[in-house]
């Protein structure tokens, strides 16, 4: 049914720079996404054939400049073969559609079948405009809590449990698999089987409020060894402040506004409402993908988050400059 050569060729034509992007459905870094590309190629071929037939028929009809013998006899009998052409066209359309339906059904079934035995579980809870990520290990004391970041071992089936704390969001990492909504009051799930090591970007795909556009998460697919090393690093409590500036930052963060919302394991700050900051500096982006992680961006973000991501829930504290330096220094420490 699907000839790999033709499909790959056909697919690559329109994909321009898309194939190698970090957030594209044509990336093919996950089992679901590769089956998507194959099915999409099949559909594209069938649809192109149908389209050529229609437009060709139209062009032929327009070119057929025959002069009618009877003056304005609008009622003359239609040529007999048109009737058979109509039946042929109907059969062709029906067969095409049935074939496509069956193809899509089989792809759907194989994805569902594979989803039966996931090796490990991650729970992702969506909030207005950031992702809470919890690695659910059987031993509860080894649970890892992080935010806006998902690490997956390559070749291992992961089941991602999806919940929402407020409105409907949609978890979508195009390079790996299709999207799945996160609906308040329900628990949906999605199975990811990453096949290519690399860095991918996912984004919320269901309109969820003023900052729907800046609700992204970075997905790192790595080898099993790297993954376990990362998991162990995430389990360690936060690094203690080393320099006096970091100590001043530590004192501010763990006693003032920051501790009302954020949790830094091993310190008095254990707010559960905002993203977990225990290993903030080891992440690649700030504020759910709004900007890449860098000291400069950290300054901009902590000083006035409302101007970086207007309408988000982090208030503008109006820090004095020395407090700002201290806080950023301490946050840099939280590798």
């Amino acid at each position: 049914m699907m000839r790999r050569g033709l499909c790959a060729g056909v697919v690559s034509a329109p994909c321009l720079a898309g194939c190698t992007g970090i957030q594209t459905t044509l990336g093919g870094a996950g089992a679901d996404d590769t089956s998507f590309i194959r099915l999409f190629a099949t559909f594209l071929v069938v649809c192109l054939i149908m389209y050529v037939l229609v437009v060709g028929g139209l062009a032929a009809a327009l070119a057929n400049r025959k002069v009618l013998t009877v003056e304005s006899g609008a009622h003359h009998e239609s040529s007999p073969w048109l009737r058979s052409a109509l039946i042929g066209w109907t059969v062709l359309v029906a067969i095409g559609l049935t074939g496509l339906t069956v193809a899509s059904f089989f792809v759907d079934r194989s994805a569902a079948a594979r989803a039966k035995h996931p090796q490990f579980h991650v729970k992702v809870i969506a909030n207005q405009w950031w992702w809470d990520v919890i690695y659910m290990t059987p031993d509860v004391s080894q649970i890892v809590h992080t935010a806006n970041e998902l690490h997956l071992p390559v070749g291992v089936e992961a089941e991602v449990q999806l919940q929402s704390n407020d409105v409907i969001h949609s978890f979508w990492v195009p390079n790996l698999a299709g999207k799945q909504d996160l609906i308040p009051g329900r628990t949906t799930d999605i199975q990811l089987l990453p096949t290519k090591v690399g860095l991918y970007r996912g984004q919320c795909a269901e309109f969820c409020g003023i900052q729907h556009a800046n609700m992204a998460l970075v997905v790192t697919v790595e080898s099993k060894v790297d993954f376990l090393r990362w998991l162990a690093q995430q389990r360690r409590p936060a690094f203690a402040p080393a320099t006096p500036l970091e100590l001043a930052g530590y004192r501010y963060v763990t006693s003032r506004e920051c501790s009302s919302c954020h949790n830094i394991a091993g310190t008095p700050a254990s707010g559960q409402i905002g993203p977990d900051l225990t290993h903030l500096a080891s992440r690649r982006t700030i504020a759910a993908g709004t900007m890449p992680m860098s000291p400069g961006n950290l300054y901009g973000w902590v000083a006035d988050p409302q101007s970086q991501k207007p309408g988000n829930k982090m208030p503008t504290i109006g820090l004095a400059s020395n407090d700002l330096h201290a806080v950023v220094a301490y946050l840099e420490r939280l590798k």
Binding site: E257, C261, I273, D304, S307, P310, T316
Partner: protein, 182 residues
């Protein structure tokens, strides 16, 4: 009220009842607010007969702004106020939806109670919340007793049904509370 809104209102005499220009603007771009929490307490005797403390201008900005009240509602849950005051009915803390106010029911007094704390167990939130958040909380608290306009409040939250909808509760008077306790 921005001038742009005022003349558009004049133009739309037929839709006058829709005057809600300031009810909705969310002013998302939050510049660091120079907000400070007032320290005066109007419900007391002023030796020498000083007249009543004027109502704080921020009442319009927060007390009647739907966005501020909604943010206040989320903070009321997130900062564990529900733990003591439930949804206005009270528990460890006093009820906030009735007419009795031990430390003053005006929005600036409520903001002061939140910021400074009160002797009978109300924690002081200055330094733990920004002044803007404290004003938003005060806006929500005074809406619990129906002080806020009906078109600026939500009827319910997405949680266990509790109090009757705020859009329908009648406006409670603000009375000093004759607290029996010391």
């Amino acid at each position: 009220m921005s001038s742009h809104c005022r003349n558009s209102l004049a133009a739309m005499a037929a839709l006058a009842l829709l005057a809600g220009c300031d009810r909705e603007n969310s002013d998302a771009r939050g510049k660091p607010f120079g907000e400070t929490i007032p320290s005066t307490s109007p419900d007391t005797v002023f030796p020498g007969g000083q007249k009543q403390v004027p109502l704080d201008p921020r009442l319009a900005a927060y007390g009647r702004n739907a966005f501020a009240i909604a943010q206040g509602q989320q903070l009321f849950g997130a900062m564990n106020c529900v733990g003591c005051h439930s949804h206005g009915g009270g528990g460890m803390g006093p009820a906030l939806m009735d007419a009795e106010w031990r430390y003053g029911g005006r929005i600036d007094q409520i903001a002061q109670s939140i910021s400074e704390g009160r002797p009978n167990g109300m924690p002081a939130w200055r330094g733990k919340l920004t002044d803007q958040q404290i004003w938003q909380l005060a806006a929500y608290v005074q809406s619990l007793s129906g002080q806020a306009p009906k078109d600026a409040v939500g009827s319910r939250a997405e949680e266990l049904s509790n109090t009757p909808p705020q859009t329908q509760t009648k406006r409670e008077p603000v009375l000093p509370s004759d607290s029996a306790q010391q």
